[in-house]
Amino acid sequence: MKAKKIIYIIVIAICISNLPIFNFFAQEDFTYSNADRSFTYSEEGGKGKSFWGCQRKYGYFLCQHPDKDQGDNNLYRTFTIKPWRFWEWYQMIFHHDRFSLPYLNSNDK
């Protein structure tokens, strides 16, 4: 009975921590770039800059720079996935597309 109560409390705490109202402070500013890093983007959790905005910006960037649309025109994530961050599980489950991007180590030259 006590264990059940603790589980309930943990589940509720996790749910609350995933509410978007905490995004400004809690959510990581996920970062992205193209292969040669001529395009970079950083989300601003809770301040208007989102993965949706990143995709729009990258599309516009490729239109403006057709040469960057040749060869590897992939958009990469430059952040690492941190599954222990329970307060970002909602994003990982319901907005997993950003986590599905190929990874580019930001330290690689």
Partner: protein, 470 residues
Amino acid sequence: MKTKLISMLLLLSFIISCKKDEQSNLKSIPTQVTDTSKNLSLAQVKDWYGENVNAISNVNNLNAISTTGIKKSFNYSTLTFSWDNLQSVSNNKGNYWIGYLGGQPTFKKVKQGYRKIAFMKDSTGEIQSRILEIIPDGLYYQLKQKVTKADFTGRIFIYDQQYNLVGGQVFSAGKQIGLIKPKALNSTTSSTLTNSASTNSKARTDEVSVSQDCEWNDDNYIDGNGEVTIYSELDCTYSIYDDGGGGGGGGGDLSGSTDGTGGGGGAAASAPAMSNLPGQDSPSIDPKAFMICFGSLPDIGSTTKITVYVQEPFPGTSFNIGPNSVGHVAIGLTKTNNGTTVTQVVGYYPNATGMSKFSAPSKISDNGGDLAYDVSATYTVIPSEFNQIVNYISNPPTNYNLISFNCTNFVYNACLAGGITLPDPNTQLMFGAAQTMTPGALGTNINALSGMAGINTNGGTTPNSKGACN
């Protein structure tokens, strides 16, 4: 004869000796009455207090302008302090004694700040006491957790020993930025308290002009004696216009500015080509590199517009937090000349992560094409006003604070620099303890203007920015 001579000498010596006493008495009396020696001892203060504590009182109306005719009184003997806590402080006029006093003022509906009592000599050597009400700024106190003279931010009200407000000062980061004085009694605004008078002045150097805008505003609070004090406060704001031309022609930064001593600027008919520098779409941008693009279009014949984009925290409500977290406000600038249009949309952000975002160095980010806004307001301005806004954005404030200077403050002040007063973005947080500008309040008040020219309440996505110019 000899006896007579001795008697005369004795009488003479007696008279002289009496005069000596009289002289010494005359000399000592003035030193007691008009003792202007600069040092004030605690014993003198105690003596003065003992003699005057029951004599000082005030049964007249105090600092409130009474509309009911009720007399408010003050009795000096009701002040509570400890002699052991008094400290001597030296200054260039001698010294004074100061210590903590019981009681607490109520400012902005919240009990905050503290009182002190000071004893000093005036220019005639008379001992006087003053009561100080020190009210640190709420945010300053929250961040620092202690008050220091070096960076004090807040207000100090000074009362005489009859508890009449005699003046005060407003400080920011240890520097005096304003004055406080008793509200003029002949004023009729006892309830609205929005009386104001403003002055404006400008100072200028070769490249920088500083504009000072000072305004007397009436306000009130409840002093430590429990009475409403109505006062006038002189608040000054300073805006710096940086011509940035560095002399000589070329460059073309902000051509045609009303303050323009900068470069002549080219009369190019078309905007420069998009730069293709690596990292130009980086998360934070160089605002100068973005704003300089407007210099490529001449002011004469240009149409200039400012658009404020608001992403509300909880669209359609005045909540300051919601599905969009805290929300965001961005500013868009558009200059059109002869069929060529330059648009830049930027926003003000903290350059930090996690909880450090509350107060951090600031950065400007490009919000063009990636901000889904809920409401917007568009204003047409003349080129000189447009250039003032461009200049403000080129030199943004360096520190972001979620409460005292956030994205809404930035956009509001940028618009103000160009003569645009946005709908009121102020709202009360924490039960009235702190007033701040928020996207929620601005969005609500723009929504209230629905149907007016330039107001969009249907939302949309910000237009793409032109980007940095070489």
